[in-house]
Structures are given as structure tokens and as C-alpha cells.
Symmetry: C2
Subunit: 202 residues, 2 copies
């Protein structure tokens, strides 16, 4: 099995954390891959048409994407923890947390493209501000609903990866400020070996 | 149950098609809601912190998002068809098709923001071109893998909604050209009453 991979991608990290927790990380070959939306990687486009990271190739050649589908597939191979609650409110809570975290990441990544990739004279402040408002409101939601961050699920893993990405790419925006419960949760959660082994690198 | 709704949103349409196919459309109240990323709808931010459409409110007050989570919840209430294959390769194929379709939509919606919402002097051609290349490659993938478009699943529904969105917002980009198998599949699939009842409106 192969994972198309970048050490900076928070979506890749989600899959790797799942793989570590499920005891299958050593069965996955990492294929370093570079993607930038304004400079399409056409070779990677032959693996996955949207050219987004991550993609996952099974030994029979079937390519899976996007990250949540790969996480669920990895979970189906688990030799350890099961990360996707099968039914009922536990499932809706976990999937909602995942969607919230991916929303934080989408907004944070779009803002990064706006402010670091787009030529300086073409930047639009109302756009970045709108995206960062989404991030801030989502963080406030997590602070207000910190009781939802229970246990190890695809939901809590995703929240951890989103907060780790903010630390990595937005050190100038101190998300812990005014959010003591979320900060305390993360401090404890990020000590998991699966998180420590997958800290993002530029 | 309430669905926060816009008649132009392809992500909302996905949920509505599922609701019709599952026989629960009449149980859902539609709440018209406007979102534009550069003009945040803060009132809607109290419903769902990312301020994206759709959001879904259960009668007990739990708010679900994003669209795929709502689709799966609607499927769990089904009085008719079941749209999420439970396990195995049928599931991975359906979820991969969903991810592909959402990727088409994300790229098409970002390009629409770029070319219709962003001030004209701040537009970046390399960005739009990179996004539209994703759309085109994903359409080529569907043409080459049209045998995956079998049956009624969250995957095929999502492909239908993505193609319907291209017809709605990109009439100047004729996606059927050079993709006769995909065009034939869509012509037949889009005749489903669930699709005819949910044609997008500006």
C-alpha cells in the first residue's frame, strides 16, 4: 500500500495518525509528492485527477481519495483501535467534528495560498478575513463544546491535526488565547505517540 | 428537522436528492440562507461556525454538517432506498466518487468566486486555470471509469449534482464534449424525479 505524502500536509497527517493508532503504519509506503494549485503536478494527476494530497494506492491498484475515505479504509484494516463509531450519535458527533476540523483546515490553507502563494498585488483582504473568521468561530465552537472531544475517534484526531496545523503555519495567531479548555485538551491529546511521530515539517 | 438551504447550492442539492430518494423530503423544513465568503453571515454563524451551506438541525437541536454527514444521516432515516453501501469495495467506490464530485464542486465554486465575486483587478489566472484543470481531469476520470457509475448511491448522486452544477454555472464550458459515455449516463440519470425536483435556481 502506498500513501502519496507531504510532511507539511495536515490532511496527510490525519491518515498517518490513523495508521499509527490502527497499527498499520509500517505496512504503508510513503511516496513524497509536491502539490501547489497554481503549478499543477500533472504526473500526480495520473494518480488522482484532483491532484490533492493525500491519495492512497492499494496493492490491487485501486486508488482511494480524499483523506476521510482513506482514514476509514485504514480503520477497516485496524489491528488496534477502531476510530469510526459504527452507528448512532457517537458517529454523528465524530463525523461532525471531522467536518469542522476539515473546515478549519480548508479555510486556513486557502488563507495561506492567499497570503503566501498569490502575487502580493492580487490579494484580497475581505477574502482572508472571511476565511479566518470561519477558523475563529470554529475554534470558539470547540471551546464551547469541549465535552465532545472525548475518546479517540476520527473526530478528535482531526481536531488535533487542525490545531497542530495552526501551530505550524499560524504561530502569529495564538488560538489558545481565550480558549483554555481547548488548549488543555490539546496539550494532553498531542502527547499521543501517533501525534508526536507526525509533527508537521516544512 | 430543518435544512439551511439555498436553491443554487450543489451541496444542498445533494442532501435534497438523498432526502427525496429516501422518502423523507416532506419531513424536512427548508430555511432559506445566504452565504458569501467575503460578507460573513454572522447570524448563520450561530447555527454552524463555518457558515457553509448546508447545515441540518435535528428536532433535538443537534446541528449536523457538512453535506456528506447530513446525507448519511438522511440515509439512516430512509423509508426507501439505502444510498451508502455498508462495507467493502462497493463502499470505497461510492465514497471515492463522492470525494471526486465534491472536488469538482470545490474547484468550480472557487473559480466562480475568483471570476465573479473577487474584484476584477485582483484576479489571478494561474489560480483559476489550476482549479479548472482539476475539474477537467476529474471529468476525464469519470469518462474513463464510467462503469463505476452504476446504481443509485451517494457516489452517483454526487456525480449527478456536480454535472448539474457545471450546466448551471459553466454553460460556456461544454463538459459533454469528448465525453460521450459520461454525457449518456447523465442524460439518463438526471431524469430521476429527485433530480428534476431539485434543478438549481439562481
Amino acid at each position: 500500500m502506498k500513501l502519496y505524502y507531504s510532511p507539511a500536509s495536515p490532511f496527510v497527517r490525519k491518515v498517518l495518525v490513523c495508521a499509527h493508532e490502527c497499527g498499520v503504519a509500517n505496512d504503508i509506503e510513503l511516496v513524497p509528492t509536491k502539490v501547489v494549485p497554481s503549478e499543477p503536478n500533472r504526473e500526480y494527476g495520473r494518480v488522482t485527477p484532483l491532484m490533492k494530497l493525500p491519495a492512497f494506492e492499494r496493492d490491487d491498484g485501486l486508488v482511494l481519495f480524499d483523506s476521510i475515505v482513506i482514514c476509514e479504509y485504514v480503520d477497516s484494516l485496524s489491528k488496534g483501535a477502531r476510530l469510526f463509531p459504527a452507528t448512532g450519535d457517537a458517529r454523528w458527533h465524530a463525523l461532525r467534528l471531522h467536518a469542522l476540523s476539515d473546515g478549519i483546515l480548508d479555510a486556513a490553507v486557502l488563507t495561506r495560498y492567499e497570503n503566501h502563494v498569490r502575487p502580493a498585488e492580487l490579494r484580497w483582504k475581505a477574502w482572508s478575513e472571511g476565511q479566518l473568521l470561519k477558523v475563529d468561530q470554529a475554534l470558539d465552537f470547540l471551546e464551547a463544546n469541549v465535552r465532545d472531544l472525548e475518546g479517540l475517534t476520527i473526530g478528535t484526531i482531526s481536531v488535533g491535526c487542525a490545531l497542530g496545523y495552526l501551530d505550524f503555519r499560524y504561530p502569529d495567531r495564538p488560538w489558545r488565547q481565550g480558549r483554555p479548555k481547548l488548549a488543555a485538551w490539546y496539550e494532553s491529546f498531542a502527547k499521543r505517540p501517533s501525534f508526536e511521530k507526525t509533527v508537521p515539517k516544512a
